[in-house]
Symmetry: none
Subunit: 230 residues, 4 copies
């Protein structure tokens, strides 16, 4: 339980603040409560409820218990808050994804399973952040958007990679690997929109089911390829 980033507010942008920085081996599966600096916390809730354009800086100040100039002490603009927020969120996803891949066996099937499970967990435990990031991509100014998209693409390329690896090795059989990759990503993202880890459906049950689906989408093993299944 590292002390680290309690509630002090950040300088902004680049760094993986999130909660406890995941050091140990396989803690990509463990999600503590989100402990953002208060401005990002305020921004996350506000953007989730009203969207970036529907949120005023006064709103952010009020929610973070700061004055308006207080907010500007930490961030030069509202846009920077959004960018920092989205950066922190996707950085966590990337870190966890890399860890998942690093700690899994090297075969495509294991790599695939680990990456998809990580994606699923992230969208289960970081629902709000994931939804805000998806919704507010369009609210990022061009430069920020480019930088964010680069990271998102990196994430997507990881998935593309393991799928292509699997196809190359003959363990996956999809005829449309790129579409499969997008479909699976979309599947995981969709979880954020409805699944609550504290609901009736146990986390493991959902992971299990969705993993099965994901595997079927890439046409694992002797299973059929994507098209009109024979």
């Amino acid at each position: 339980m590292s002390r680290s980033t309690e509630n002090q507010t950040p300088g902004f942008t680049t760094r993986e603040v999130t909660t406890e920085p995941m050091s140990a081996e396989s803690d990509w599966r463990e999600y503590g409560p989100l402990e953002f600096p208060r401005i990002l916390d305020a921004a996350l809730q506000a953007f989730y409820e009203h969207g970036y354009h529907g949120t005023t800086t006064r709103d952010l100040a009020r929610r973070s218990g700061l004055s308006v100039p207080g907010v500007y002490h930490y961030y030069p603009s509202k846009q920077d808050i959004l960018f920092d927020l989205m950066t922190v969120i996707i950085d966590e996803l990337l870190v966890r994804s890399r860890q998942a891949l690093a700690t899994a066996s090297a075969d495509p099937r294991s790599q695939f399973d680990a990456l998809v499970e990580s994606l699923l967990r992230f969208h289960m435990y970081r629902r709000t952040g994931a939804m805000v990031s998806t919704a507010e991509l369009r609210s990022l100014e061009p430069d920020n958007r480019a930088r964010y998209v680069a990271k998102r693409d990196e994430q997507q390329r990881m998935l593309d990679g393991v799928i292509l690896d699997g196809v190359r090795d003959g363990v996956f059989a999809t005829a449309y690997p790129k579409d499969a990759s997008r479909a699976i990503a979309s599947l995981c993202v969709g979880v954020a929109s409805w699944y609550r880890p504290d609901g009736t459906l146990p986390v493991d049950a959902l992971l299990d089911r969705y993993l099965t689906i994901a595997r079927s989408i890439v046409g694992i093993s002797g299973e059929t390829a994507s098209g009109r299944s024979r």
Copy 2:
């Protein structure tokens, strides 16, 4: 195939304008190009690109080729435009869903297949509208939101209904029918975020694959229920 509703501007709200009014039997599968009155068309694009709060009335005016007061000639407020847009969109979904159910055999399996196929097609052919409706639900004022949510719930209840019917009849085997219903809905909604009907993956291939997935989620037939399969 009447075209009718060219580009005349509407009174607003109530009516299923959209494209061709679907009269004949199974044309819930047929999607013509979207032919909204110009203000709704402008709103759809603008809200899609910048969101409701990120869109100005001037923007709507410019996009619809009107002056600002010209827009207000047809709608009393920006909020009414959003509400009308979302109403028109979900009304089309409801009409198509009811037609799908009405024209399919009465057994739960056929009902389920028809409804899911309809949902999928809608999110494939009405991508933008579907995404805007999802994203801007929060931008509806309370009364409008309530009215919209009532319709969305009606749609969701259709799906709940066929699933529960299937479970009752023993043809579906899920242990969490409500979660299954939400998962399937989320699956279909997700399609809008990445699938383009004019891409490499043929429509039928996607329908096929996703239907298979949907069926597996409700644990159809001899297939196993949700948990760790086999």
Copy 3:
């Protein structure tokens, strides 16, 4: 009962529309109900309730039972409506004032009594119009204001005249005839703000009392009694 200007709507400005044009001798004392063309009627009520700037042309249209272009058929602008309204009102006052003077004996005391009585009656029976004219003088555009003020000044000069005549003849004794004249005018105008001819205080009682006051303001001789002094 002249036919004249029933309810047909006017061209605008100059003419003494009002009700029956007072032809006979001393009917400056008689006030029938106000029968304005409907646009002026609407304007009178609307301006009274909300003021010129607080009244929209749509409001005027609605109140007069016309469409907006219908209003513009009769008047080229809202400003012209105000000007016409105020013109019609002050014209009636002027006509009645002249008649009062013309039908009274030539001596200053009788002239004074007649003119003040006429002023009082006008502000009793034409309350709304008088108040609107007073309040909206500032809303007239320069040219219109000049023309209106000329008429109002003419009215004021009548009063100044009879008072100066009385002073010259030694029957009035005020040291500040101009102030006296303004005070008396203000007194009469003030009646419009509170007196209702259908209230408890009879018209004659009010006329009597106010005439007494007016006489005392100009410092009439051995002071005559109040009422219809005989």
Copy 4:
């Protein structure tokens, strides 16, 4: 004679800012120059010249030497400015009226004289404010209007009170005390519309004359009552 309240801008509404807070005994007769905070000053002039609806917020900003948002820093709306202005004005009148009554002898005649003199002085020295308050009553929103009217009614009830006291004690003889009260109030209000304290007619002369008139309206002492005087 503290000056205090220079030109600092207010919180709004409740407080008697106006000029010097009248503390000492009989200073209800003393009127210094009006020293409103700049926004109220701007509003007073602007509303006087163009009326509430005829005044734009830009106009108010310009006149007060602020930007538009600068004005909104102090007041949440134009309506609040009007309400605060009218409140400040009538509060001064009420304070002075109460002081006039408190420092005069208890007999109805003295009370009456003091109250009427105070009313007259107020409408002489606070002309503009008095006229704006009268003219813009209709521009107050219902709640504000109710609160303002309550104060105006309190003022009117003071006058009603002393007149009814005098009638009860047999020193006043009017047959219509309520009408008399309104007539006298109207008389005083009317002074604002024409009298300038710096004109030819000395203040005392006007006070003297109008007090005499007011007394005659309530039919003081051996004088005759209102009606048909003998």
